[in-house]
Symmetry: C2
Subunit: 775 residues, 2 copies
């Protein structure tokens, strides 16, 4: 497929850039971002460039800048270096660059950049390597070498910790102490303005010089900065090597809860001293092992495809999910842009439940459990949001940050530049399906994992509370004797203030139905828990209301052709030809010709809610119904949401439109690593990366959770000779090996029998059994 990066033939783990391009800074910074779920550092170059976005984030460290909504503060930078050779500051805009390459090795998270730089008849060889440790969440290590290849040379390097970074001009951090310990270890302390989170960043530099010559060193302090300037003379072909060790710690870290600043400082410094005794290669080997242990050993996906980039895209998606997911702390969730950019301020959306949670449910259930737990921890904020809107129960925030923050969607966007009036951002108010999505995701985890204890402890309560919200949200239409939900935004965000959005109404109904089942089950099977919850949530008051209302929730009937209306009015709107926007180079082209108000009045869809519904509740809809609605909605869809393509890939695969499915899959893969060199500027699209895995495993792999049942009905695209992957089901591991003709399903050391269905047949495996099913 067409990519914005080069690749290494035969090695689907390498993202490569063979020429430096100032216009591609944002693309490479986000896609080649390093991280470990705790810290994320955009792949800025060591030397600075004007349009760079030099972001470092620690998950969960939210702060509010004066009157703005909470966001992840951009932390002091530790990867910047100013390198001077023979008086000339390294700057790839100047002089000549040759043999340039930059690679990200997805397998171990090593970012490498090397090139020759010639300036005024002299040439220098540079290498820069960098990784964020997956073995120790707080550790960031760089290695730099400089070799003059044409003459003797004086090298100067200025390096340290630079706290002058901002979030696009907003500064969350108060400068704290800057210290040098033992004339060698630097430390900079800083604290967020409003949330009072403390950070300690510690850095040291270890040099290797020819003949172990000492390097000249001089401290330089600036505002929010602590630097050291180093100087060394090199003979031609001699190499100077610098390893820069950095540790980042914060008292938001669960380990430092209740500890004082002194302990934080000491921990950061101690870890730095320890780490800097070990070589770059040793620490890199350790991180590579951790990548294998923590990431690649779970949910392996292997492909034989005519297009080797398919495998790369899958590896890339899994890499990005790994660096973005705060596996270490259930008080945090996966941000829409991961830790790769300032876009969406580090907030989590329904993206998690619908697009990323499935990956973890099937590959690393413990992480899925944490992500659900995050929502449970957010109940207080969800209660507050419901209360603020005069509803009951738990209304989950459209944008979520720290669990207790509740709703964090900005209330006002920029002023409409023409009218001068501030424009309201409606999603935090009326994009209400998030509450269903959270309940849906939580239950999927329970069904797939079989984790009944967690259901009892948390998920049941969460769903009951969500149902309370929906029940209070319903509006009775007396004339029609039905309950309606007016004035919402569905997943198709082109349509604001619609009534009876099918996705919303359907999932609200589903939530209440599920709550009724949970109520009844708890009452019979877990009376003690039932009593506790019943008292807390007033279930005895709610239950009869739910029963009365649930079947009267209004779901729009399909029209005479079988088309399920997206909302009350959609099918009556004007249609226009949107083909030019569907295949544009950049998204959002529709707004070159129409404003949002106009789009609201047309049968144009950003992503189709109806189709998403058919995918999520697929057992409830017949194939024919799906095909009719696909044929109706897909041509009206711009796919301007990064969430759209993977859903369509799965649905197309289900409908056996395999070419189309494959095309949607590849387009989904291109959202970040594809040829649009601006698409990732604000950060990668985490949901779409989850969607890539979904498209592979749920789409082509045909894996599906139907209620509580696992279904496996693969169907590979023509380009794929073989697809194999591993999934967890009910705590057991399954291995699937699929080719164009058959699928082999095997259990791996299954302690209990594992069942699944294929074309209506049920199979059961245990131990290390396998079964071959012809497709």
């Amino acid at each position: 497929m067409q990519l914005g990066f080069k690749t290494d033939p035969g090695n689907p783990w390498i993202l490569r850039e063979n020429a430096f391009n100032l216009k591609h800074l944002g693309k490479t910074e986000a896609n080649m971002c390093l991280g470990n779920g705790y810290v994320g550092i955009r792949a800025v170059t060591e030397e600075r460039y004007v349009n760079e976005t030099r972001d470092t984030f620690i998950a969960g460290t939210f702060d509010k800048f004066n009157g703005e909504v909470t966001e992840l503060p951009n932390l002091p930078d530790v990867v910047g270096l100013e390198v001077e050779v023979d008086g000339q500051t390294l700057d790839l805009n100047q002089g000549e660059v040759s043999n340039y390459q930059r690679t990200l090795d997805l397998k171990n998270g090593l970012l490498t950049r090397m090139f020759n730089w010639s300036y005024e008849q002299r040439t220098y060889r540079f290498t820069f390597e960098r990784f964020v440790s997956m073995a120790n969440l707080h550790l960031v290590v760089l290695r730099v070498t400089v070799t003059p290849t044409t003459a003797d040379c004086v090298v100067k390097i200025k390096s340290g910790i630079d706290g002058q970074q901002t979030n696009n001009g907003s500064q969350h951090l108060i400068e704290g102490d800057k210290r040098l310990f033992d004339n060698h270890y630097m430390q900079l302390l800083t604290e967020t303005n409003e949330s009072k989170i403390n950070f300690a960043l510690s850095t040291c530099h270890e040099f290797e010089t020819p003949d172990h010559r000492p390097v000249k060193q001089q401290m330089e302090l600036g505002r929010r900065q602590i630097f050291c300037k180093y100087q060394e003379s090199l003979k031609q072909d001699e190499t100077l090597q610098l390893v820069k060790y950095n540790t980042l710690v914060s008292d938001r870290d669960i380990d430092f809860n209740g500890h004082n600043l002194e302990e934080l400082q000491q921990f950061g410094l101690g870890l730095l001293k320890e780490s800097s005794k070990r070589s770059f290669d040793e620490l890199l080997a350790e991180t590579a092992t951790a990548w294998k242990r923590r990431v690649w050993n779970y949910g392996k996906v292997q492909l034989k495809s005519d297009d080797p980039d398919d495998q790369l895209a899958i590896n890339f998606a899994r890499y990005q999910l790994a660096i973005s997911t705060p596996e270490h702390d259930s008080r945090m969730n996966i941000a829409a842009k991961g830790l790769t950019g300032e876009g969406y301020k580090g907030h989590a959306f329904w993206d998690t439940e619908i697009f990323m949670l499935p990956y973890y449910i099937f590959t690393k259930p413990a992480v899925a459990k944490q992500l659900v737990e995050y929502r449970y921890l957010g109940l207080a904020g969800a209660h507050q949001k419901a209360k603020d809107n005069h509803y009951e129960g738990a209304q989950f925030p459209w944008e979520a940050a720290w669990p207790s923050d509740g709703e964090t969607t900005p209330k006002w966007g920029a002023a409409d530049i023409v009218t001068g009036r501030a424009m309201k951002i409606w999603s935090g108010f009326i994009e209400q399906h998030i509450t269903s999505d959270v309940a849906f995701g939580a239950l999927e985890y329970v069904h797939a994992s079989g984790d009944q204890q967690f259901a009892l402890d948390k998920v049941d309560e969460l769903i009951l509370d969500a149902a309370k919200f929906w029940s209070s949200r319903l509006e009775f239409n007396e004339a029609a004797d039905r309950y309606e939900i007016k004035d919402v935004i569905g997943p198709d965000e082109y349509k604001e203030h619609v009534n009876n959005n099918t996705f919303t109404n359907y999932t609200a109904k589903w939530t209440i139905e599920t709550a009724i089942q949970i109520y009844e089950d708890l009452k019979v099977n877990h009376p003690e828990k039932f009593n506790e919850l019943s008292e807390r949530l007033e279930l005895d008051r709610c239950y009869p209301v739910w029963q009365r209302r649930v079947d009267k929730i209004y779901l729009l009937e399909p029209n005479q052709d079988g088309v399920i209306p997206e909302n009350d009015t959609y099918l009556s709107l004007k249609t226009v030809d949107i083909s030019k926007y569907r295949h544009a180079e950049h998204v959002g082209g529709i707004f070159d010709d129409y404003n949002l108000e106009q789009v609201n009045q047309l049968q144009i869809t950003k992503q189709s809610d109806v189709l998403l519904l058919l995918y999520l509740f697929e057992q409830k809809f017949a194939t024919k119904e799906k095909q009719i609605n696909w044929d109706y909605y897909e041509p009206k869809t711009t796919h301007d949401s990064s969430l759209s393509l993977s859903t369509h890939a799965i649905l197309a695969s289900d409908l056996r439109m395999t070419d189309s499915a494959y095309s949607f899959f590849q387009r989904a893969c291109q959202i970040d690593i594809g040829p649009d060199m601006r698409s990732s500027n604000d950060g990668i699209h985490a949901a779409s990366l989850g969607g890539i895995w979904n498209a592979v495993v749920f789409g082509f792999g045909g894996v599906r959770l139907l209620g509580k049942q696992l279904r496996i009905e693969p169907h590979l695209p023509k380009a794929w000779q073989q697809l194999s992957f591993e999934i967890f089901w009910q705590g057991q591991k399954l291995h699937l090996n699929i080719d164009q003709k058959q699928v082999t399903v095997a259990t791996i050391d299954a302690q209990v029998p594992v069942s699944f269905t294929n074309q209506g047949h049920e199979y059961q495996l245990k131990g290390n059994e396998s079964v071959v099913i012809t497709l």
Copy 2:
């Protein structure tokens, strides 16, 4: 003299740069800064570079960032432009640059940059012009032209208002509304965080295209940003011209006191609309007239010198003083770095009274009066400082910002990087001579202007209040029956925590003596005022105390050689050879070899307080005494303070060491425009610029205020054939024309007789009389 700029032969008004150099950004930004005393904008280039410091300040708009001391916030930028030709962003690091020149015309404040830029075989001609209006304080205008000279071309320009600037990472501003009016006029509102000062920045773009072709326009909003992107196709040799009009207003402006934000917005917008109807050339002509009327018509200085750069340096000094002095508002003072950089945070120091006030006293007394009034407005803050330190009266702040702020010197500097302990900044606590300096400056204004009403209204009170402070500050040494002042820093800041610093004790005594005279004069001649002040300041309690103490204030006796000790211990300290630091390329070299504690223990002086005292109170000391002390102290002085050189130039001139005086004068001139390309990075040295004028008029011109008497005893350096200048004395204008042999002094329309002395003879002139005195 050796300069860091090129000059135009025969035109001492042009500061020129003939090659772009990334390493000289700070130098050119500060020295070529534009302003009008209200707004200051560093001479950043339109296109951005990594190490630029893109500062815009409005005088007096102080704000505190979280826990830091108050400073002038760096405002949104209006001079930045992103220019793209044929898809390539203008960047002088790339491609080839030829015929480059940048000039600042000191006469009218026009900054011009022009060059040819070649990229990939295509060449483009660019001109950028810019001025900050001296006719309308709120107006900033740019003109840009682009001409492709080798082929047709597509030009894109992105321009608007960019609020992502910070003060080295600290953000004072809260983002407000961004609006576009009439699809043409942009406005960005913003507010300081703590002081709640509102700003409205308004911008519009007027294009001139071949055949009046319309320019394509598209809005682009970012965080804290409002931009418009323009696009136009040009044929070879066609020129696109853009004039960008900007208005900056703030509700700190005295005109907007009590007005609401809406009025502020409307004013900014209205002014923009009005201004943009007028051409760049018309507005430039208007500003040139204003420069003549407001600046150059006052205190003209003309030289015939062997070195034409002498005249340039004087013009430059006057230019910088003009753009730095808030003539529009006495609630503001001149910052140590003017409005040219973030150094010293926009604070005012004793620099004003000792180094800059004299310039205004003798050239534009109304401004001098305002600068004194600023201190009067600061009495509440000075009372507070005294009270905080358990003293009485008015203890003026070492660093002053908004009048009511009181002391604004940072209390703590960076941690000592070795010990890790935060280092106290002592000047705000113990550099106490500022209170004498303020009193001294105020009285100089009264004596030179003869403004008795102002003395009665403000200066008398100010000096009485200052004397109250000093009286309470004195420490009685019972054994010696004398009053001492311990633990201070004198003007020689190398010596912290010294006792009986001669400068401090002498000026404290002078303040109390002066207060006693004022007390006695008021009592007799202005009984009503006396009663009012007496009650308010408890003068009847204070006066007898002053009388008892004043003659017992301890002044160190000269030693047997006639050397006046700088303080109790100075003469007993070790001496070392400091010649290598005295002629170093950069200041501060002493600290490469010694730390401050060590320097404290050596006879090394940053600037000599004793010599400064001999200059300020010259009638009190015999020439021989001056010579002895010069011979002793000057060789021990590093002149690492930018304040030192001009004082030494004057004193050397007084001592008829004319070569030495001229050398000190030229070194003073070089502090900013000289060859050290880093010296002005944080901003120019306003005091030293005042010092240049002082060295000319007080030094070589021999003008001096001796008590209430004007003395004129010129003595030109060999290189100067002629020096002529104008000064105000007692409200009348004097013209002096000096050559190597004689001085002609003339009054210009003098309404009352004007007296002055020369070599003990008194002269009196009135009307348009003149006298020729042989030297």
